[in-house]
């Protein structure tokens, strides 16, 4: 692990050097809010931001993604047989990702990279990505990352952590991928590691102190899933829900998807699209029967999945990094912090 000093004067030049070797993604402000997007040549990421409106998960896990293509033309060879398509998995870098979002990729990896099955689309995109984090000195009031095993200076899932010191960044290189990135940019001013670590540590403590919201998760594992499932509070929690997919689409740790075929003329594709457990269609059987027919059941599923089923399945905390997006974006103010505390407290 090395620590590098990046003078902000050399920032633009470094990005230019990187441009040929990586597809660069970064936060950019459109007329309304910050979004992650691919940077065109010469375009700079705007690192003066709280967090992007949506998580950067779509850069690895596109909302709509073609999986296969095929021809329905019977005069063609291999008609009706699905074919893999060529995709661009050349190196890409996510510049300025917040530590919470970076941690989310580690968490989601559990789902896409299992001992039995590997999801090739997600994994290839993930493996081609260098995660260049930006430590968070100004967490939002809705951020509760320190309660989820994460934090504003958290390093897991990052190849490189940038710490903004005003005139310069301290770059903490965490992986060989991060090393390559730094080399490719041509930033090479070594810095005194002890002093730099000290600065980072102080800034980290300061940032963590600013976190204003917390959830308790310590009892979730001990609670019975059956009891929580039958808890009386779900009706009240779910009342306001309008069953839109905002929380799940904004969430960096929601991974559910749907698979669909689409045909135009004789050419067909099989693709996948993000899906949401908030939608009744998610679980609707062909017969018309739906095991999660009511809003209460769907809301319960979302929270139980994140805060109980996941906890039980992997025994490594909750399926949430505390980014607070679902709280900020829910049109009716359903707040996961409140639900988490209710579940944590519920003794059956």
């Amino acid at each position: 692990m090395r620590l590098i000093n990046i003078d902000k004067k050399s920032w633009t030049g470094g990005l230019e050097n990187l441009y040929g070797n990586y597809r660069l993604f970064g936060p950019v402000k459109n007329n309304k809010h910050h979004v992650f997007k691919e940077l065109s040549k010469g375009e700079l990421p705007d690192l003066n931001y709280l967090n992007t409106l949506l998580s950067p998960k779509s850069i690895v896990f596109s909302q709509s993604e073609t999986m296969f293509e095929y021809s329905l033309d019977e005069s063609k060879e291999q008609h009706h047989i699905l074919k893999e398509i060529n995709k661009d998995y050349s190196p890409q870098a996510l510049i300025g990702i917040r530590p919470c979002d970076a941690a989310s990729f580690q968490l989601v990896k559990r789902n896409f990279d299992t001992p039995e099955y590997k999801d090739p689309y997600w994994l290839r995109a993930y493996e081609s990505t260098t995660f260049v984090g930006l430590a968070c000195s100004n967490p939002c009031s809705t951020c509760f990352c320190t309660s989820t095993g994460c934090g504003p200076f958290h390093e897991d899932g990052l190849d490189l952590l940038l710490v903004d010191e005003g005139e310069n960044f301290i770059a903490k290189i965490l992986t060989p991928g991060g090393e390559n990135f730094i080399k490719s940019a041509g930033w090479e001013t070594e810095t005194d590691p002890v002093a730099a670590e000290k600065i980072i540590k102080n800034m980290k403590i300061k940032a963590e102190k600013k976190i204003a919201s917390f959830v308790s998760t310590d009892q979730l594992k001990n609670r019975s899933a059956i009891d929580l499932y039958a808890a009386p509070f779900w009706e009240e929690i779910a009342f306001a829900c309008i069953n839109c997919g905002t929380c799940t689409y904004a969430c960096p740790t929601c991974w559910c998807f749907d698979i669909q075929d689409e045909v135009s003329k004789n050419l067909g594709i099989r693709m996948r699209n993000w899906d949401s457990c908030m939608f009744p269609l998610f679980t609707l059987h062909g017969t018309g029967y739906n095991p999660r027919n009511t809003k209460m059941q769907r809301v319960r599923q979302r929270f139980m999945h994140k805060l109980k089923y996941y906890v039980d399945k992997y025994d490594d905390g909750i399926q949430c990094v505390g980014c607070g997006r679902c709280i900020r974006l829910c049109p009716v103010n359903i707040d996961i912090r409140r639900v988490c505390d209710m579940m944590n407290k519920y003794e059956g």
Binding site: S62, Q63, S64, E65, T66, E69, I85, E262, S264, K265, I269, M271
Partner: protein
């Protein structure tokens, strides 16, 4: 582009315009071959989603034809339809599809001459606009 011919999806009421098309055919009347007819039970059955679906799938024009006011087989289907059409026609134009791509007519089953003349008018109008540039769905994603 000179040999380009528009494809026009037309929805014809079973009780009138479809009969008029039939009559035009039996009477060996000539009209442009650009229309693809879909029979509907009544103009009142017409849903805007049929029209948008046709446009999405690449139709250059859409034309809906039903019975004259007062002549609906179900008494008032076309009266309801007329209101739906009025609003939808405006909406189509508002969203950026040329108004000349969407047509409505009342044609009774005896009016084969009117039928052919409307086919000609509709075809001409759509032809003048040329092929659609936007809004046809074809896709491979990310």
């Amino acid at each position: 582009m000179e040999d380009w011919e528009p494809r026009i999806v037309c929805f014809l009421c079973n009780w009138c315009s479809y009969g008029a098309a039939d009559l035009a055919g039996v009477s060996r009347m000539q009209y442009p071959a650009n229309v693809r007819a879909i029979r509907i039970p009544c103009a009142g059955r017409m849903s805007p989603k049929f029209i948008l679906a046709a446009f999405m799938k690449g139709a250059d024009g859409v034309w809906v034809s039903g019975c004259h006011p007062g002549d609906c087989h179900y008494l008032e289907g076309n009266y309801y339809a007329r209101r739906k059409f009025a609003l939808f026609k405006n909406l189509i134009e508002y969203m950026g599809i040329e108004p000349g791509r969407l047509h409505f007519s009342w044609i009774s089953s005896a009016e084969s001459t009117k039928f052919t003349s409307v086919v000609k008018k509709v075809t001409l109008a759509v032809k003048e606009l040329g092929p659609r540039k936007q809004g046809i769905k074809r896709g491979v994603y990310g």
